[in-house]
């Protein structure tokens, strides 16, 4: 064969025999607008350099010039060769530069979508046929996916006056009508009815007169997904051979299309004999029990996969091994024999070595310190690898609230040589600070609120100027400040700080909080009609996670000191005086909810006891005849509370889960001494949105109950005014709620709810009857935005009248906002 060669001006450049030349000079031809010198510099064919011909340098020169995106064509010619000196000529074809696109005929959001898809073009390329074709193709594909089948695209260019040789390209788009699906026809189906198959296509629907919403608009992307789901559904029902042989989309008329799908259905299959090979660690009997599918059951690949690998709660075969260190465990269900309608399966198991955790590290924590994450990770160096602990670690990292939960990703890196595995926890920080700034109208006055919550504060660095970005962060501490006022009538300020690992050695949380609030009728203090109530309080708490009975438990203790100063203030058991409340609170909780904002499983239980010292047993006051001042000086009571929440997924629709939440709450405020009577403070106010709003911290506990107005659920036969403003000593509340997520992304989580509630309050334990409740039902929506917290709106309808409060029940709207996750009661 002839040798490849290049003959230039009678000189033969031999590819098998490259030679070195000196560049004698480079010229540029064909350019009008570009600077010649610069182009020559960019080609790197500089005079005086040595070059090998043929060689890479010439190819690179052309490549470099192409990269400029200025030319329609680039040619490199050798103009002459004089002994060992070579002269180049670069020949370019210039075209107008594209500075920007202008889209005409599409909506604003479509414009941005299209611009995004074309973003590597504007300002970086020239106008030629290639540009027209690719632009057209990209826009066509985009619109096709959106259901526009009959699109026409034209181009018009106009010079950009800002710059010479530049052009703005106008893209004239005629979308045509968005097509609907007129009919979907199936062929080849015997056992499945066409109507049933149409139902399997979740997002692609036939037009029908009764479908008012989303009546069959066609979306190509969704259609492709639907086809996969259709087959999956058929296979789930035992038709393992099911497949689409052919599908076609055709034009029905200007506005609609038809779809034909030709199916192969095949027979219905059942599981046959299942044998296990390769298992040494666990016996076949044990694995069969875990696997749970027996001979004769309907064959389903999906079920098989779930039982081998996929189940969420870890009762599949793989989890058994993966929780015991067998990281490289693999199981392959081989269909060994298929006869009639029966499939025999051989489970081929590769157990591999038992791995030990080695290096555990965190990647991606740009704000939060390593130790804050690592101390919550359950996979420890030197322990056997366990998938369960890995999953638990993800949950714990998620609960810190500083990372995007969907992006927390542990990557095990096994090292087969020594049977160890390094685990990298990949995380992504998310904004966790919350700001509440609001102005509202309440009690005929403007009320302003400013609240700040920092969820990843670092107290250590408070005097370290460099750490302020804009605040010292990274130690997982929480600091919140809140102030609310409308001037003279109402003022409230609070502060709280908490550290989850006090001292850094144990998960002992420490909390410190203080508040002061004042409510008055706005008159001057010297006036005889002056009314006010002032509350001051501090509390210190310590809490820790328990390892027994299991590690979902936690225990906490708190000491609270509150002072109430009343001056002519109506609606309480006493109207003037000072009362102190020093109490100790113990709380035991078990929280196994699997998600902070939208739990789909798990339960939350909490039992709280709060008690003050029994002053009346220690001092010598005769309470039967004591003055109010003496009687109420030291509040005494004991308070018992229990709460349980339970979450259960009852249906999975695609990636979304319909969840049932059941909740029960109970509270009891008791006294040590009948002569003293029940405490005026720390009672329960039931009804309404449960928000600490205008009556923030009035020494009572607010319990939401939808369908009734705020604080309106009072005991039968009680003085409604007192019961409404100071609360009642006993309450019970039950909620049953269905929740369905509509948005679940990093930016927002939103879900719809429908609920039924029941609850009541009582004055005496002897009246208490947990079945005698006021009932309501309703619907609502909640949205969680990282910076605002959880916002909610509910509409509830209360069935039962509250005697003495005319507007308490019937239809009620409730708005709610909770800064802390889980702030709804």
């Amino acid at each position: 064969p002839a040798r490849p060669s290049l003959t230039v001006n009678g000189l033969d450049l031999d590819y098998f025999n490259p030679k070195e030349y000196i560049i004698g000079g480079t010229t540029l031809s064909g350019s009008k607008y570009t600077d010649k010198e610069v182009i020559i510099i960019l080609s790197k064919l500089t005079r005086g350099e040595t070059i090998t011909l043929p060689g890479e340098a010439t190819a690179n020169a052309i490549k470099n010039l192409w990269l400029q995106g200025l030319f329609d064509d680039v040619k490199l010619n050798i103009s002459k060769i004089v002994s060992d000196t070579v002269y180049f000529d670069i020949e370019v074809v210039e075209r107008p530069r594209l500075t920007a696109f202008e889209f005409i005929g599409v909506t604003k959001s479509q414009k941005t979508d299209i611009a995004e898809r074309l973003q590597d073009k504007a300002g970086k390329t020239i106008i030629n046929d290639n540009l027209y074709n690719t632009t057209k193709a990209i826009i066509n594909k985009y619109l096709l996916d959106k259901g526009y089948f009959f699109t026409t695209i034209d181009f018009k260019s106009k010079p950009d006056t800002n710059q010479e040789n530049s052009v703005i390209l106008q893209v004239l788009i005629d979308k045509g009508k968005r097509v609907k699906v007129h009919e979907i026809n199936f062929t080849g189906n015997k056992d499945f009815k066409s109507a049933k198959l149409r139902k399997f296509l979740k997002k692609t629907k036939q037009q029908a007169f009764y479908k008012v919403f989303g009546s069959g608009k066609f979306n190509k992307e969704k259609y492709e997904e639907d086809k996969v789901k259709l087959i999956a559904k058929m296979q789930e029902n035992g038709y393992r051979e099911a497949a689409i042989l052919k599908d076609s989309i055709y034009r029905y008329n200007d506005k609609s299309i038809g779809i034909d799908i030709d199916l192969h259905e095949g027979p219905k299959y059942y599981f046959g004999n299942i044998t296990w090979v390769g298992n040494a660690k666990y016996t076949t009997e044990f694995l069969e029990k875990v696997f749970g599918i027996e001979k004769g059951q309907l064959f389903s690949e999906e079920k098989l996969e779930a039982k081998l690998r996929g189940s969420a709660n870890g009762d599949d075969v793989s989890s058994v091994y993966l929780n015991d260190g067998y990281l490289t465990f693999n199981i392959d269900p081989v269909q060994t024999k298929i006869y009639n309608d029966t499939v025999d399966i051989e489970m081929r198991i590769y157990e591999g070595p038992q791995y030990t955790n080695n290096k555990i590290s965190v990647v991606g924590n740009t704000i939060t310190n390593d130790r804050v994450v690592l101390r919550n990770v359950y996979t420890k160096p030197g322990e056997k690898f366990s998938k369960e602990l890995l999953v638990r670690s993800i949950r714990e990292i998620g609960q810190l609230g500083n990372f995007d939960e969907s992006k927390t990703n542990p990557i095990p890196k096994p090292n087969a040589a020594d049977g160890t595995v390094d685990i990298e926890y990949h995380v992504e920080e998310k904004p966790s600070d919350q700001v509440e700034l609001s102005g509202g109208f309440g009690g005929g006055r403007v009320i302003g609120t400013l609240g700040l919550t920092f969820n990843n504060f670092s107290l250590r660095n408070i005097f370290n100027g460099e750490a302020y970005k804009p605040l010292p962060k990274g130690d997982g501490q929480k600091l919140s400040l809140r102030g609310q006022t409308n001037g003279k009538f109402y003022q409230s300020y609070s502060f709280s700080f908490s550290e989850p690992w006090f001292g850094g050695k144990k998960p002992v949380s420490f909390g410190l909080s203080a508040f002061t609030s004042l409510q008055s009728n706005g008159l001057s203090a010297s006036s005889s009609d002056f009314q006010k109530i002032r509350l001051n309080g501090v509390s210190v708490s310590l809490g820790r996670k328990l390892k027994w009975p299991d590690n979902w438990f936690s225990l906490s203790h708190a000491v609270n000191l509150n002072q109430y100063v009343l001056n002519n203030y109506p609606g309480y058991l006493f109207s003037t005086g000072t009362s102190y409340n020093l109490n100790l609170t113990q709380e035991i909780a078990r929280d196994s909810r699997n998600h902070n904002i939208f739990p789909t499983g798990g339960a939350y239980l909490k039992f709280t006891i709060q008690a003050t010292p029994p002053y009346s047993l220690l001092n010598n006051v005769n309470y039967a005849i004591a003055s109010d001042k003496l009687r109420y000086k030291f509040t005494e009571y004991h308070k018992w509370k229990f709460e349980s929440q339970w979450f259960q997924t009852i249906a999975t629709l695609g990636s979304k889960q319909l969840v049932l939440k059941a909740q029960a709450q109970f509270g009891f405020l008791g006294s040590y001494n009948n002569a003293v009577g029940q405490s005026a403070f720390e009672r329960f106010k039931l009804g309404g949105d449960g928000m600490q709003g205008f009556d923030f911290l009035q020494g009572s506990e607010l319990i939401a109950m939808r369908g009734y107005s705020n604080n309106s659920v009072v005991p039968l036969g009680a003085n409604t005014t007192i019961a409404q403003s100071s609360g009642s000593p006993i309450f019970t509340k039950y909620v049953i709620e269905l929740r369905y997520p509509v948005i679940s992304s990093q930016q927002a989580t939103a879900f719809l709810t429908t609920f039924a509630e029941g609850g009541n309050t009582w004055n005496k334990f002897s009246d208490y009857n947990p079945f005698n409740i006021r009932r309501s039902i309703g619907v609502g929506a909640k949205i969680f935005l990282p910076i605002f917290g959880l916002l909610g709106i509910d509409y509830g309808y209360g069935f039962d009248k509250i005697p003495g409060i005319p507007d308490a029940n019937k239809g009620q709207f409730h708005f709610s906002i909770a800064q802390q996750i889980g702030g709804f009661n």
Partner: protein, 291 residues
């Protein structure tokens, strides 16, 4: 009413914009200069002025402390104009931007590794440059940071030992990994001692029948410590741990001996009981109906 700057920004007079950009840069009004340079960079493509413009553009970003974008621009400059008089400076500043972006040792060190690579690349390109000395110093600082991180994270497991004893065993594993990863780490003495300490604490909090073996391991680590650092200040502390371990072994043996003794006693008693009960149990057996 628009300001003079706004008018200029919206105008098409590129050369005037360029002049003004440089003027603003020299006046240290970097944010305004940036606005002008950003607009000009596209328009100056393929012209002679582009080199100077890009140089100023990169430095404007650097002055504005946008190190992430700046280092990209510096690299782009050095790649586009390798023969420029500014090329060395830009390569250096590109690497230095990574250095400035390297966070505290307790955070993700991705940028630290990248900074080391970039600084090393600079040294390889310009080994004789005056800046190479500085670059080497920066690399040393960054290595230091990585060592601190490794030590802190391994030590964390020792700290957590008081909460869960299993962490002491983790500490031994993690500290040894640090030794392997950074053989000449500056904390080597502390690490070696902490290994002895962690193993000692692990043994001390174990069940008696596991203690001897685990204390022995601690003594083994003590011997390694003494071999590596015979003159260390920490020797006395290590010796104390060794003595405590030996005492621990002695006490564990004692407990086990006592347990064995008790067990023997119970066994003897049980045997005695059985003999006495023998007749009664036989009777009971007869009473039990067989199927």
């Amino acid at each position: 009413c628009k300001s003079r700057f706004e008018k200029l920004r919206l105008s098409n007079d590129v050369s005037k914009k360029y002049q003004e950009g440089i003027r603003l840069y020299n006046k240290k009004d970097y944010s305004k200069a940036l606005i002008l340079f950003e607009g000009l960079a596209q328009k100056y493509r393929g012209t002679a002025e582009a080199e100077d413009l890009n140089y100023y553009y990169a430095f404007t970003l650097y002055r504005l402390k946008d190190y992430t974008t700046a280092r990209y621009k510096f690299k782009e400059f050095a790649d586009t104009y390798p023969n420029s008089k500014y090329a060395e400076e830009c390569r250096y500043y590109g690497a230095y931007c990574y250095y400035l972006d390297s966070p505290n040792s307790s955070l993700d060190q991705e940028n630290t590794y990248k900074a080391i690579d970039a600084l090393q690349l600079f040294i390889n390109y310009y080994p004789k440059s005056e800046r190479a000395v500085q670059a080497a110093q920066y690399i040393a600082n960054l290595r230091d940071k990585l060592e601190t991180k490794a030590f802190d994270n391994a030590k964390l497991y020792y700290t957590l030992g008081g909460y869960d004893v299993a962490y002491y065993r983790s500490a031994v594993v993690a500290l040894k990994n640090t030794q392997i990863e950074f053989p000449d780490i500056k904390y080597i003495e502390e690490i070696d001692l902490l290994i002895v300490k962690s193993q000692y604490m692990y043994a001390k909090n174990s069940y008696p029948h596991r203690q001897e073996e685990r204390f022995q391991e601690a003594i083994g680590y003590y011997n390694e410590f003494m071999e590596a650092h015979p003159d260390s200040k920490l020797v006395s502390e290590a010796k104390q741990l060794k003595e405590d371990s030996e005492a621990g072994i002695a006490s564990a043996r004692k407990i086990l001996a006592k347990e064995a003794e008790e067990a023997a006693k119970y066994a003897a008693l049980a045997k005695k009981d059985e003999k006495q009960k023998d007749t009664t149990t036989k009777k009971a057996e007869i009473k039990t109906p067989i199927k």
